[in-house]
């Protein structure tokens, strides 16, 4: 680490690269392990929303469909807030 890096880090200009590495790895491994590329995931997300929307009204701006992985188990996690109708 250089003095410049230290100053940047202290001033919060740059996050430690180990954090970035960990986040990038977790994402890429979730895709590797499930053999799903971002394009397929996006397509699946659209189709899930389409199906769910037939039954309830979803807040489209707040939806989140992503792969999460822990202990070598990868899960598809969908968070679809239902809009209040009353």
């Amino acid at each position: 680490m250089t003095l410049q890096d230290l100053i940047d880090k202290l001033l919060g200009r740059q996050t430690a690269s180990a954090d970035t590495a960990r986040q990038r790895l977790q994402l890429v491994l979730a895709h590797d392990r499930s053999d799903l590329n971002p394009e397929l995931l996006e397509q699946m997300r659209r189709e899930i929303l389409e199906v769910v929307s037939r039954y309830v009204e979803i807040d489209l701006s707040e939806t989140d469909v992503s792969l999460e992985t822990e202990d070598r188990v990868t899960a598809l996690v969908a968070n679809l807030p239902i809009r209040r109708t009353l």
């Binding site: 430690a16 690269s17 977790q26 070598r72």
Partner: protein, 270 residues
């Protein structure tokens, strides 16, 4: 039933230390009294002979043994200083296409009849070379470094080993730089073990002595010297044999008098 431990040493990515680990563990196990053979399954680009200082002594390979043009004893290259260790190249670099998973299993079966430990130095990649080597293994050590590409490739390899039924699969974290870890510019030991979800058999600090030892063809574990990597490989061999040796903590690395002395002796004075 054979009690031989047949261990694949693999990584996916090249250059993370498979061959160095195989050479050092082979020597360390042999020094502890276990009869050990290292099988170079990376015979297209073989280097295990070079790291062990045995490059001029190879006459036959496992290929000739299976073709019955020589006996196994003729193909095994005994280490000069450590006679408990033998090297067997799986094949000749000029004949890349001959080996199949069945051949590999046949070779390993022959070795298991006479050795306590069979260490298989796996080629990089996850193609045929890896699959051949993995077909004969019972357990595996996955070598990785705290770098994104090495960890990602290790993950692929672990997935393949799981589907092949190789177990246990344990992790060796190589080329750890404690200073970079403490300033959070390198993935931590916990980051890597959490992501890969494997038990950690050992970690090896980055150590210039590794290069010096490969220059000489004398693995670090040959001598009782105190270089950090030498101790780490010795500890890993001990843990493989069931000894309870605590893991080194990169945050608590204290530079001993010996290390300082060695550094002093290496200082350029002219």
């Amino acid at each position: 039933m054979s009690t031989t431990r047949t261990i694949l040493i693999c990584s996916g990515k090249g250059g993370v230390g498979k061959t160095t680990t195989t050479a050092n563990l082979g020597i360390a196990l042999a020094r502890s009294g276990a009869s050990t053979v290292v099988l170079d399954a990376d015979f297209g680009l073989r280097n295990l002979d070079l790291l062990l200082g045995l490059e001029n002594r190879i006459v036959y390979t496992a290929q000739e043994v299976l073709a019955e043009t020589c006996r196994l004893e003729q193909a095994l290259v005994k280490h000069k200083q450590e006679p408990n260790l033998s090297l067997l190249p799986a094949g000749n670099p000029r004949m890349l296409e001959w080996l199949t998973p069945k051949d590999m299993q046949a070779i390993v079966a022959l070795l298991e009849e006479r050795f306590d430990y069979v260490l298989i130095d796996c080629p990089a990649g996850i193609e045929d070379g890896f699959k051949n080597a993995a077909a004969a293994a019972r357990e595996a050590l996955v070598i990785t470094t705290p770098e994104v590409a090495a960890v990602r490739d290790a993950d692929r390899v672990i997935g393949l080993l799981n589907t092949q039924g190789v177990s246990p699969v344990q992790l060796v974290l190589n080329r750890v730089r404690p200073k970079m870890m403490s300033s959070q510019e390198m993935l931590s030991v916990d980051d890597v073990t959490d992501i890969l979800a494997l038990p950690l058999l050992g970690l090896v600090f980055e150590d210039e002595q590794v290069i010096v030892s490969t220059n000489r063809g004398e693995p670090l574990t040959l001598s009782d010297g105190g270089s950090p990597a030498a101790r780490a490989y010795g500890n890993i061999a001990g843990r493989l044999q069931g000894k309870d040796i605590p893991l080194m903590d990169p945050a608590k690395i204290r530079r001993g008098l010996r290390a300082k002395m060695r550094e002093l002796m290496q200082t350029k004075i002219f």
